[in-house]
């Protein structure tokens, strides 16, 4: 077998079939090509699987959440009866403010709907419209006292029950005992719908209100503002501190055991579970400094601790990517070390630093665990107005709604997730744009 053969090109010890173009060689090539195709197929399968997960996630969230952006309203002919609102006829704002608007709502329902005799029936009728109606009528009267004594058509918020029924969340064909809405209520609803008194509009409450226990009155604006204040604190502290630390470590610090130790620690800190920062924040900022619980200031400080390592690492990477020739040229022209850094290195590294900061911030925006420890997992109705007012943040709002028994919170949870995802996508897009726009390649 190993007998040398002589051809025009030389002397071979390799048998014919194993030479290039031989049978064995061709088989090997086929095998290798097959292996390569398989390898690519694995990659495509992995990609397909992750895309599938992503699509499933989006489809479920959008499927659940899309309906939350519309909200049902009911038109009632409200008689702003003078004897209920203002028995003594003086139109005194204090009297008008403290009048019993619930009676007004009840009287309206009684006159509008059939069979509302008796307490139980009236309670069921009241279940059709949101308890926000009382406050809405109160606002209307206080804004325009001339309404007293008149009858006006008013669009009021429908209750979450009605909203869910009309959106198909409650199956009308189930036996009465198995659904929350009664036959009598369904009858009233059909009557109202037939009279054109039911309308679905854009759910502006969701974007303007704070939290509420009544799903139809609950909104994310309070949480969005809470997130905003928290992020302002985080950005204002973590970006300058992170960049300063990175510049010192990269440009000025001597390379020795201490700086190595610091570097290792920074890398480790980036991987510490975020709840640990919450515990630290509780111990240091609240118990020791005496800062208030549930405040965006403390939330921002805790998230600063969490974001700092990320920003330092990204900023150092951005600084290293600036070629040494730039520094050498500046130094060669007689610039001081600080001038070199501030005039040349920093401007060139800044896009990379900003990208790192934005990615760190979007991580901080989605964080809930550390905020649990410092009291930001809370029911806050009033929209926060400053850094020390009580606040919660978007992901916490999602968590709290997901834990609520009321069915109507399911769609609101998904809607809030969509808003949070929107913010995340916007921030990451900004990071990409900054990089594309300003990054210099060497």
């Amino acid at each position: 077998m190993n007998k040398p053969t002589t051809t025009a090109r030389g002397v071979y010890t390799i048998p014919e079939e194993r030479r290039i173009g031989g049978k064995a060689h061709l088989a090997l090539v086929t095998r290798r090509n097959a292996a390569e195709r398989r390898f690519r197929a694995y990659g495509i399968a992995a990609l397909g699987l992750s895309l599938l997960f992503l699509v499933t996630l989006f489809v479920t969230i959008i499927g659940n959440g899309a309906s939350a952006f519309r909200q049902t309203y009911v038109k009632l002919d409200v008689n702003f009866a003078a004897d209920v609102l203002d028995p003594d006829g003086k139109r005194d704002p204090a009297t008008l403010g403290s009048a019993n608007y619930l009676t007004l709502v009840r009287n309206t329902l009684r006159s509008q709907l059939p069979d509302t005799e008796g307490r139980a029936a009236l309670r069921e009728a009241q279940g059709l419209i949101s308890s926000a109606a009382n406050y809405q009528l109160r606002e209307m009267v206080l804004a325009d006292p001339l309404l007293v004594g008149q009858t006006r058509p008013v669009w009021v918020l429908a209750s979450a029950l009605v909203d869910a029924t009309l959106k198909g969340g409650i199956d009308r064909n189930l036996p009465e005992s198995d659904r929350k809405i009664s036959d009598r209520q369904l009858g009233w609803l059909d009557k109202l719908a037939a009279e054109g008194r039911i309308e679905r509009r854009f759910n502006s409450v969701l974007f303007t209100a704070g939290d509420s226990r009544e799903p139809e009155q609950a909104g994310i604006w309070g949480a969005v503002m809470g997130s905003f204040y928290t992020m302002v604190v985080t950005l204002a502290l973590s970006f300058p501190i992170g960049v300063a630390a990175a510049i010192y470590l990269e440009e000025f610090a001597p390379r020795n055991r201490w700086t190595d130790l610091i570097e290792v620690n920074i890398n480790n800190l980036a991987a510490v579970p975020s709840i640990v920062y919450g515990l630290l924040g509780l111990a240091v900022f609240i118990n020791w400094f005496g800062l208030p619980r549930s405040a965006p200031l403390v939330g921002g400080l805790v998230l600063t601790l969490m974001t700092l390592p990320v920003i330092i690492i990204a900023s150092r990477a951005a600084l290293t990517s600036v070629p040494p020739s730039i520094r050498e040229a500046a130094l060669g022209m007689g610039a001081s070390k600080m001038q070199t850094v501030t005039h040349h290195v920093l401007p060139l590294a800044l896009p990379g630093m900003l990208t790192g900061a934005i990615i760190g911030m979007s991580r901080a925006l989605g964080e809930t665990a550390p905020l649990l420890m410092i009291g930001m997992v809370a029911f806050i109705v009033d929209v926060p107005t400053g850094f020390t007012s009580h606040a919660t943040v978007l992901p916490v709002q999602i968590y709290l709604w997901a834990d609520s028994p009321e069915r109507a919170f399911v769609e609101r949870t998904s809607a809030a997730i969509l808003v949070l995802l929107g913010f995340m996508v916007a921030m990451n897009a900004l990071a990409v744009i900054l990089r594309k726009r300003f990054e210099r390649r060497w």
């Binding site: 226990r213 005496g290 997992v377 109705v381």
Partner: protein
């Protein structure tokens, strides 16, 4: 110099925040149980809209976590009220007293039923607490006889009681951190293990071992810890009609189209049966108020008046709409009278 100014500004901002926190607080601060959270938040919201005071802030920290914060001391940085899905423990009361929180007003707000439910696609179970214990305890008396405890051999409900369906034992329930789990252990497991001669013998011989044997849930896959989120348990029951789930009554009420509650000791988990005290797995819910804060933080007195009012806690009150099982009339009257008189907790 510019940098120094910036640093100074940050420190000043923090100091200002601290000063503000230490000074006055005009919002009531409430912490505690996630089970009472839906009810307290409802009262807080109504109170905030109607009273002219600011809406109280309600944190969901769990009963134990809430007690710890509540008992940490008197002063504006400490919460005014804590929610609890069980009574305060003697150790917690001691802790409170040690930190100067001497006068505590205890308000019983109502009941919460714990239901054992399954999907509507499957028939309703008729269970006893003994059945539940036999199905869920890690160790049970040997079914072949004798006083020895063996690792739980039951695989199917039929093996426990021939009247029960021949379904695999699969129960989804809350993790140990949950107050619902504590109550389930206390109200079902502790009671269910009482009737066995083997357990009685053990109780006499070794009380500690007896307690562990009664309370330890099995870890062989028949009991599944499904997380704190009760909505998730309902979803899983819907997907798996063979399984049972343990969760709070308000979640049953919201999901009556998907799940139904099993009868326990012959009583079904309905509003009426829990309110009458017939349904056996029901617990009392409390709020605890720091008396020293009344008059310091504005609105506390008015807030507890709103909480204990007929329109909130009463039979047709708005809390009943949220799934709270109200107190019997006589007890509500007593609670209202105690609150009015400012009666404090003297001992347990």
């Amino acid at each position: 110099m510019k940098h120094n100014a910036l640093a100074l500004a940050i420190v000043a901002a923090m100091a200002a925040g601290a000063a503000q926190a230490q000074g006055a607080r005009d919002t009531i601060s409430i912490v505690g149980s996630s089970t009472v959270y839906p009810f307290t938040t409802t009262v807080a919201e109504t109170f905030g809209k109607g009273s002219g005071f600011k809406t109280p802030k309600v944190e969901s920290t769990g009963t134990g976590g809430g007690m710890k914060l509540f008992c940490a001391g008197v002063g504006v940085q400490h919460p005014d009220i804590t929610n609890a899905s069980r009574r305060i423990k003697p150790s917690e009361l001691d802790d409170c007293r040690k930190n100067g929180v001497a006068d505590i007003i205890e308000i019983k707000v109502g009941y919460d039923g714990i239901v054992v439910a399954n999907s509507k696609k499957a028939p309703t179970y008729q269970l006893t607490r003994k059945d539940l214990w036999l199905a869920l305890a890690k160790e049970v008396p040997d079914p072949k006889g004798g006083d020895k405890l063996v690792a739980n051999p039951y695989k199917s409900w039929k093996e426990i009681d021939p009247a029960l369906p021949d379904n695999k034992i699969e129960v989804l329930g809350p993790p140990p951190t949950s107050g619902t789990r504590d109550s389930f252990v206390e109200l079902v497991m502790d009671v269910g293990c009482k009737d066995f001669p083997a357990m009685k013998a053990l109780e006499a011989a070794d009380a500690k071992r007896h307690k562990a044997a009664c309370q330890t849930l099995r870890e062989d896959g028949a009991f599944i810890e499904a997380g704190e989120n009760d909505n998730l348990i309902v979803q899983k029951l819907e997907a798996n009609p063979g399984a049972l789930g343990i969760f709070g009554y308000s979640f049953l009420e919201e999901n009556l189209d998907k799940v139904h509650g099993s009868l326990v000791d012959g009583h079904s988990p309905t509003f009426e049966e829990v309110a009458d005290g017939k349904y056996p797995i029901a617990r009392e819910l409390f709020i605890y108020v720091k008396k020293a804060h009344i008059g310091v933080i504005p609105g506390i007195k008015e807030f507890i008046a709103e909480y204990t009012s007929e329109k909130a806690m009463g039979k047709d009150g708005y809390l009943a709409d949220k799934g709270l099982i109200p107190l019997p009339d006589a007890m509500l009257k007593a609670v209202q009278a105690d609150v009015k008189a400012g009666k404090v907790l003297t001992g347990l």
